[in-house]
């Protein structure tokens, strides 16, 4: 009974963080801020839901497999976010004008012409 309540709470936490990630993806103004919102919330939400399923399964082979999935997500999701951010910065996507700090500035050679043409090309 206590275990069931704990599982339901973990699943609710997971759905809440996925919802926050969706709101951040739809509402934030910039590629980098969207990346910031989605990566953290997705990692935490998926980890929480998979932890709840591990508690439901108990000690078994499938539980170990889900532990592997959690470990792989914890490793892979920040790596992918870093690769996307670096790739879009090198492609020339500028930051949002309200952003305060740009520590990458001057350390990077751009691959193509900067943003305005890129956005135009997309349209």
């Amino acid at each position: 009974m206590v275990l069931g309540i704990l599982i339901v709470i973990l699943l609710a936490i997971g759905v809440f963080f996925f919802t926050v990630s969706m709101i951040g993806l739809l509402r934030l103004p910039d590629v980098y801020t969207r990346l910031h919102a989605t990566t953290k919330c997705d990692t935490l939400g998926a980890g929480s839901i998979l932890l709840g399923m591990m508690l439901y399964e108990g000690i078994a082979f499938a539980s170990v497999e889900m532990l592997f999935i959690i470990a792989f997500i914890l490793l892979a999701n920040p790596t992918a976010a870093h690769a996307i951010a670096r790739g879009s910065y090198k492609r020339g996507l500028r930051l949002w004008e309200g952003t305060g700090v740009d520590m990458y500035k001057g350390a990077v050679t751009f691959y193509t012409k900067p943003t305005e043409e890129l956005v135009e090309e997309e349209k």
Partner: protein, 87 residues
Amino acid sequence: MIGVFLATALALVFIALLCSYRVFAGPTISDRVIAVNVIGTKTLVVLVLVAYIYGQKMFIDISLTYAMLNFLIIIIAAMYLETGKVV
């Protein structure tokens, strides 16, 4: 407990449907790549839930494979963003 899992899976599918707006309307390629990454993570979790809704543990293996495939897709897309070439 199956009903709780079913409700969670349906909520995640609905959230993924809302996220797919960014795939269609995102102003740059990077937005689309981010949205695909988010939808991939949600799919992975829904596959684990489906394994317990249908009672077939095979779906957990599929979910593990999907995690690795999703990571590979994102890394290759980031490589295209950075250098302009795929290989």
